[in-house]
């Protein structure tokens, strides 16, 4: 129980010794090999966004092939599968995970908990350089003979290692090597985020006074630390199968009349290991988005977060439950029906804490003083997108419904909506929200609105209609549909519709890039704490925050993060570091 001592300081003066922050001595250590979490954050986010644009272009090429087969002569089957594989793996691991945990995690964790930097700044810096190395190894696949792997983003054996799959010579090796390096690097960063939250909170910042953004990043990082070993072990064993001739996963196969050296391996074992990572990964991306959205809604609706405690508990429950649902990705692998029953049940149970969150977001804005600015618009669009994507997840969580829908576009629509677009909308909202803090300037609102409406309506129209393709039975993973009796002409027109939208939405992202670069130099100078937010990152002595975040005096925390519109208070918000309600 926190002792209530309102009206007095309530802290022992020497409770906390101030940390030492390594100070940069040269341009190189300030901007390149920086140990400042804020610089590491920008490096992470910048690299991830660069990778994101490569993945975006690959999705364009796939969409053009689907809508206008053969229009681009250089896209053959092999290239198509390479684009699918690289688009998926890049977006899930190298973009979304890196932007949320590496980018927002690094920037916001120290600032929002009142620390001067991460717990282990050197290891934190190393984490980014490992990430960059992993990206370079991954991209090197494009320049090797045979190109990158085209095994599908799940890289299932045996076909991932068999001749005939594009990139089975070198591409698959660099993919797994890159993943191993990424995981090593992420583990370094992840240890930092967790230890920083546990150890370096400002005096008075109890766990239950942490903003939801931090809870989201914290739980997601713990999940990532415990889930990525699944992918690591799977990658290592696949590399052994490929390079050392072991048979962990590779069964006996006769290829072109020739018996391969492998015998008896279990492809299902790989699927277990992969999805032991793969399912928590969905929540590793979603949980930080949940947290950020809660803070954006509360700030821009000028109302306290509804059900804070329930939100925290729901986040933790999602974190724990997400480790026992992985089997729902394997319903059609021929598992024991009892297992299917277990995984279907656990999948439906995890919808409960998720639904609690959705209700609490809605109750937060209910009768709030809603400011329809760009971060708020993105938050609202996130709720809509996430609910639709989440509901189609309930369909797929049931074995009997999943079996016919599994290999159709219904699955593509579902996961793009729920773990692609929904978190992406939060990333955009968060960029607009925290840009003034990072740069000291405001973004151009007209451009931001244009970017919002094109992105939200465009992606929604793309993926909502894609469910229809799935219900019609249009198979996913196909390079070309050709003349197929059960596919009506509407599918062709819908494919063209989706492709045109994808091209427009993709190009619209350049508006964000332009706005970002232009506002960084010429944007309107931001007022101090322009959104009148309560959280600590806006209470720094300067904006953008100085190297050690807080100048001479580190903050002390007196209240939770959601004192908006407190009755009787002179202003409609009370910062966390303000002792008295009046000021």
């Amino acid at each position: 129980m926190v002792e209530v001592r309102a009206g007095e300081e309530g802290f022992h003066p020497d409770d906390f010794e101030d940390e030492e922050v390594p100070h940069p001595r040269s341009w190189w250590t300030k901007y390149v090999f920086s140990q400042d979490a804020k610089v590491v954050a920008l490096q992470y986010a910048g690299t991830a966004i660069f990778v994101g644009f490569i993945a975006l272009v690959m999705s364009w090429l796939m969409r053009i092939q689907l809508a206008f087969p053969g229009a681009l002569s250089f896209i053959d089957q092999d290239h198509y599968y390479q684009f699918i594989t690289m688009h998926g793996m890049m977006m899930v691991v190298y973009v979304l995970t890196a932007v949320f945990l590496g980018g927002f995690g690094n920037y916001l964790i120290p600032l929002m908990i009142g620390a001067r930097d991460m717990a282990f700044p050197f290891i934190n810096m190393l984490s980014y350089w490992f990430y960059l190395l992993a990206v370079l190894i991954l991209l090197s696949g494009f320049f090797l003979p045979g190109g990158p792997t085209g095994a599908g983003w799940t890289l299932y054996p045996p076909q991932a290692l068999l001749q005939g799959t594009p990139g089975s010579q070198y591409g698959i090796v660099v993919m797994f090597a890159s993943l191993c390096v990424f995981i090593a690097g992420f583990t370094m960063g992840g240890l930092n985020y967790v230890v920083t939250v546990l150890q370096l909170r400002a005096p008075g910042m109890t766990m239950m006074r942490l903003p939801m953004t931090i809870w989201g990043l914290f739980i997601a990082t713990i999940m990532a630390l415990l889930a990525f070993p699944g992918l690591f072990v799977a990658s290592l064993m696949m590399l052994c199968d490929r390079l050392l001739g072991t048979s962990f996963f590779m069964p006996a196969i006769v290829q072109n009349g020739e018996q391969l050296a492998h015998v008896g391996g279990s492809p299902i074992l790989y699927q277990h290991l992969f999805w032991f990572f793969g399912h928590p990964e969905v929540y590793i991306v979603a949980v930080p988005a949940f947290g950020i959205v809660a803070d954006l809604l509360s700030t821009h609706a000028r109302k306290n977060l509804f059900g804070y405690r329930m939100m925290v508990w729901a986040t933790i429950a999602i974190g724990v439950l997400s480790f026992v649902v992985w089997g729902h990705h394997m319903f059609i692998s021929g598992m024991n029906p009892l297992f299917g029953f277990f995984f279907a049940t656990s999948t439906l149970i995890i919808a409960i804490p998720t639904a609690i969150k959705v209700y609490n977001w809605i109750f937060t804005i209910w009768r709030g003083d809603i400011h329809l600015n760009v971060p708020m618009l993105y938050s609202l669009s996130f709720i809509v997108t996430f609910v639709v994507g989440g509901l189609s997840g309930l369909f797929l969580g049931n074995v009997a419904v999943d079996v016919p829908l599994n290999s159709t576009y219904f699955v593509v629509a579902h996961f793009h909506m729920v773990m692609g677009i929904a978190p992406l909308l939060v990333i955009f909202g968060a960029i607009y929200h925290w840009f003034p803090l990072i740069s000291g300037r405001m973004m151009n609102e007209k451009l931001a609105l244009a970017h919002f409406w094109i992105t939200f309506l465009g992606t929604y129209a793309m993926f909502f209609t894609m469910h229809y393709l799935g219900v019609l039975g249009v198979p996913r993973r196909y390079y070309e549909l050709g003349q197929t009796a059960f596919i009506p002409p509407s599918v062709t027109s819908l494919n063209i519709f989706i492709t045109v939208l994808a091209l427009i939405v993709g190009a619209a992202q350049l508006v964000l890039v332009y706005n970002f670069i232009r506002s960084w130099r010429h944007g309107e100078v931001a007022a101090r704490n322009p959104w009148r937010a309560t959280t600590l990152e806006w209470q720094t002595p300067d904006m953008p925050p100085p190297h050690d975040n807080w100048g001479p005096q580190a903050p002390k925390v007196y209240r939770w993060a959601y004192d908006y519109s407190v009755p009787g208070a002179p202003r409609d918000y009370i910062p966390q570091n303000q002792p008295e309600a009046r000021a």
Binding site: M208, L226, F248, V312, I316
Partner: protein, 230 residues
């Protein structure tokens, strides 16, 4: 995968205790004012880091063991006869673990000479363990159980290799500590880090005992149990 899930649940229970102790039932909106949270209530930062490292390494080995148990008993599975050398190696690792524990205790009691000697014993036996594991690999290969020969042998190399790599990482950390403290084993930094190294060593010893049991073929009952459950 039952082993991995059980391990995750074990961690979840530990985390739950931690969070309950940190007052997860607090109603922060009712309780403004300075907290009583003080620096004394917290564990040292590096100790928290170590616990997280052990959790992550633990998951890696839990998953490898899970994979072993799922794959063991398949039609092509052969349990290769474990080299008798492994018994000796296990002894080496136990001595190494005891040595580091002794060094940590001696340095806490400010017995510099004793601490240095025990630390040396721990480090040398750990190096000897890694070397001896390589000899065990050679024995295996010589007996016709190369990496690609059978999946049982492949697991032998994978498990011992991963375990050895982690021990090597510990040795590097120990070496860096000694280099940074310039052999001043009684200093605050060195004392803490030697203690952490000892904890890491005990953890790797525990992991090795599990792996050792599986490699000796004593896991058959567990495999049968898992299969029965499935």
């Amino acid at each position: 995968m039952i082993v991995a899930v059980l391990f995750i649940w074990l961690l979840a229970v530990g985390a739950a205790f931690y969070l309950v102790r940190h007052d997860l039932a607090q109603k922060p909106w009712l309780e403004p004012g300075g907290g009583t949270l003080t620096a004394d209530e917290r564990e040292p930062t590096s100790a928290t880091g170590l616990v997280m490292v052990l959790a992550v390494v633990g998951v890696v080995f839990a998953l490898v063991i899970s994979a072993f148990l799922m794959r063991a008993g398949d039609a092509d599975w052969v349990t290769p006869p474990a080299p008798p050398l492994l018994w000796f190696n296990t002894g080496l690792l136990i001595v190494s673990s005891l040595g580091l524990e002794g060094a940590a205790r001696a340095s806490a009691r400010r017995q510099a000479g004793r601490a240095e000697a025990l630390l040396l014993l721990g480090a040398v036996t750990a190096c000897a363990f890694i070397l001896a594991q390589i000899f065990a690999w050679r024995e295996m290969t010589a007996a016709g159980f190369g990496v690609g020969s059978n999946v049982g042998a492949a697991f032998f190399y994978l498990m011992t290799g991963l375990h050895g790599a982690h021990l090597l990482g510990g040795l590097v950390a120990l070496a860096i500590t000694l280099a940074q403290t310039r052999g001043d084993i009684l200093g605050q930094t060195a004392r803490t880090r030697v203690k952490f190294c000892a904890m890491y060593w005990h953890f790797l010893l525990l992991v090795w005992l599990f792996l050792f049991a599986l490699l000796q073929g004593w896991g058959g009952g567990l495999v049968a149990l898992c299969r029965g459950l499935i």
